[in-house]
């Protein structure tokens, strides 16, 4: 993979309208050769339409899609150097595994011996050796998906498109397939473009994620940037769990900033924001980045400030809700201003969940670099 190479897929100002509904609204993005690219978004955001336009099942209303430098506008799906793994897998029910996987090669007239070798190789790759003669109705959903994967990979496409590849699998299998897909992609070196509505899937597999909202790209970034540096409220809220507070930017200098949030108080940051002074902004704060404390007795008023280490922000509240999830416990804490803030706390010992209970007065603090200031 060289940085100088042109992107394998170039999407240029692509829009797609179905009647009056705009599914994809002027999207432009580049997908680099060899990357695991994920289109993430809620259902109906246009991500699947975008994928289907890359595959050729839908034509853009406006704009153009280039694959490996070639304009695909007039290229039908059966002539495109991409293959797709369908959400329903679309394994041919009247063919056994070998015939399913060899279908594309047979159609393109590859010699029989080569078909046999390549099918065997593909089945080995997806760990389906020994299943050659099985019919699809004798296989589980996970196995059928592997057939669909092998059937596409055997064509050696430039890009493999996956439409919600894990949505039909149960939770355990899904977690396993996340690793396997990432591993497989690494092994074959083919560019993967995946559509999903599941942020865990996107974060765990992707090299880069495009978050799509209402037909537009809300943010395009590697997974960790998406989580730690969301560009806007939509991304912050869609990727992971987050507390969002509206506020006013009252201080903005190169090395510090402050946002006055009604209900939460003044939130300090140890970096500048470069937003207009007095602007309406939002603070996004992840639940796991907030520390919980029992306030020291008899000094209720100043307790929070004293409990917080230097340079930390602090707040006080009352526990109104708790849910024990095993590895963490989630608390819903009512701030003095009445708003609810969510805090998660790892259960580092077996009794950590007993530290707090309903209606406990607690103090919270978080580092000055934990909140993210969002301008939109």
């Amino acid at each position: 993979m060289t940085e100088m190479k042109q992107p394998i897929i170039q999407i240029r100002n692509v829009s797609k309208r179905f009647g009056k509904v705009t599914a994809v609204d002027n999207i432009s993005l580049d997908i680099r050769a060899g990357e695991f690219f994920v289109l993430l978004g809620p259902s109906g955001c246009g991500k699947t339409t975008l994928l289907r336009m890359i595959a050729g099942f839908e034509l853009p209303t406006e704009g153009q899609i280039l694959i490996d430098g070639q304009d695909m506008s007039l290229v039908p799906p059966n002539k495109r150097p991409v293959n797709m793994v369908f959400q329903s897998y679309a394994v041919f029910p009247h063919m056994n595994v070998t015939d399913n996987v060899g279908y594309g090669l047979r159609i393109s007239g590859v010699p029989k011996g080569e078909i046999r070798d390549r099918v065997a190789e593909a089945l080995e790759l997806v760990k389906l050796g020994g299943f050659e003669d099985r019919m699809p109705d004798q296989m589980s959903g996970g196995q059928r998906q592997r057939v669909a994967l092998a059937r596409s990979l055997v064509m050696r496409p430039k890009v493999l498109l996956l439409d919600e590849p894990l949505s039909a699998l149960d939770a355990k299998l899904r977690a396993q397939m996340q690793f396997e897909l990432a591993d497989l992609q690494d092994k074959v070196g083919i560019t993967f473009v995946t559509v999903t509505h599941d942020q865990d899937e996107a974060l765990s597999m992707a090299s880069r994620v495009a978050v799509i909202n209402k037909g537009e790209v809300a943010q395009l970034a590697p997974p960790s940037d998406l989580y730690e540096y969301p560009a806007n409220r939509f991304v912050a809220d869609f990727v992971g769990s987050v507390n969002i507070f509206e506020g006013t930017l009252t201080l903005d200098e190169p090395d510090k900033a402050a946002v006055e949030c009604p209900g939460l108080g003044k939130v300090y940051l140890n970096h500048g924001v470069t937003g207009p002074h007095g602007a309406n902004v939002w603070i996004a704060l992840r639940p796991e980045k907030i520390y919980l404390h029992v306030p020291g007795e008899g000094k209720a008023v100043r307790a929070a400030a004293q409990d917080a280490p230097d340079g930390h922000n602090f707040a006080r509240g009352t526990i109104k809700g708790m849910s024990y999830l095993g590895d963490i416990t989630l608390y819903e804490i009512q701030l003095e201003g009445g708003q609810i803030i969510r805090v998660s706390r790892p259960n580092l010992s077996r009794h950590d969940q007993e530290d707090f209970t309903w209606d406990d007065k607690v103090s919270m603090h978080w580092r000055a670099d934990s909140p993210v200031v969002l301008l939109s």
Binding site: F57, P76, P77, V82, S88, H94, Y103, I107, M135
Partner: protein, 304 residues
């Protein structure tokens, strides 16, 4: 599974109670008359209204004479041709309905089923009115002919000879056309239900893997629609084989089918035993067709 009312072996009484009425009905009005006709086929006329069931096989011998066998084979050929044409016309129609916008589908299906709401006799006479020598089809063709003739005079050529109406009715062509017209819905509906169940992403997957539309049709659509094709063929072929009204009204003297011959035995010829024998030969032929189909569908179910 042995829940309540699911296994007749463990729930004999309720099943007997439910089953007795239809069994009685079938026995009285289907099996008994058929048995009587079956017995007649082994008898001979002993008077104008008297049949002596003597156990003779003469009726069957006569029925297998070339005169009747040829009509039988011709009926089979006409029915097969009808079925083939129905399949060729019906498949695109069924595909079109399957791929139509969902809001249109019920209306299109209604259009297919609408003829069922009209009596066959009326439909047949309507078709005849269309196809007669004075019918609208001939009038339309005549109009075109005259138009062509007029065009010729415009460019200074000799006008064409006067239009002679085409004989569309009372021949084998009319019979096949009438049978296709009557049986087309029987073909379209099973095809539609098979194609409707077909997961459209299978078609997309085939295209995605490099197959063109024709290859996709042959490799994916047709094999997966096979149960619908078989059902459509059977449900068209069997009634077409026993068709009576269409050849009677629309056919010529040489286009009678086996059902017309049978009808003549029961009516004008007043030879019930021979008519019965012909009827049962037709029934046996249909049995064989159905048996072949069920053998085939059993084969499909077996895992390879």
């Amino acid at each position: 599974m042995s829940g309540p009312l699911q296994d007749w072996k463990s729930q004999r009484k309720p099943f007997a109670a439910v089953a007795s009425a239809p069994v009685f009905w079938l026995a009285l009005f289907f099996i008994a008359p058929m048995a009587i006709v079956w017995l007649y086929s082994f008898g001979q006329n002993a008077g104008p209204a008297d049949i002596d069931i003597s156990g003779t096989l003469d009726n069957y011998k006569r029925a297998t004479e070339w005169l009747y066998l040829s009509i039988f084979l011709k009926s089979l050929a006409v029915a097969a041709l009808t079925t083939g044409i129905c399949l060729i016309i019906g498949f695109p129609v069924a595909m079109a309905i399957t791929f139509a916008a969902p809001k249109w589908r019920p209306w299109l299906l209604l259009g297919i089923m609408l003829p069922f709401w009209t009596n066959l006799l009326i439909r047949t006479y309507a078709l005849m009115a269309l196809m007669g020598t004075n019918g609208y089809m001939n009038k339309g063709l005549g109009g075109l002919w005259e138009g062509a003739s007029w065009l010729r005079t415009l460019v200074g050529m000799q006008p064409l000879e006067a239009w002679t109406p085409v004989q569309l009715l009372y021949n084998n062509f009319a019979v096949v056309l009438g049978l296709v017209y009557v049986h087309l819905p029987f073909m379209v509906l099973p095809l539609y239900s098979a194609l409707d169940r077909l997961d459209k992403s299978l078609i997309e997957a085939s295209l995605d893997l490099g197959a063109g539309h024709f290859k996709t049709f042959m490799q994916v659509v047709v094999p997966l629609a096979a149960p619908g094709i078989v059902a459509g063929v059977m449900i068209t072929l069997i009634p077409a084989l026993g068709a009576y009204l269409t050849p009677d009204l629309m056919g010529g003297t040489d286009s009678q089918m086996i059902a017309n011959v049978i009808e003549r035995q029961f009516k004008r010829a007043n030879d019930w035993p021979f008519g019965a024998a012909l009827s049962f030969l037709l029934i046996y032929a249909m049995f064989i067709l159905i048996a072949l189909q069920s053998m085939r569908s059993n084969k499909v179910k077996e895992p390879r």
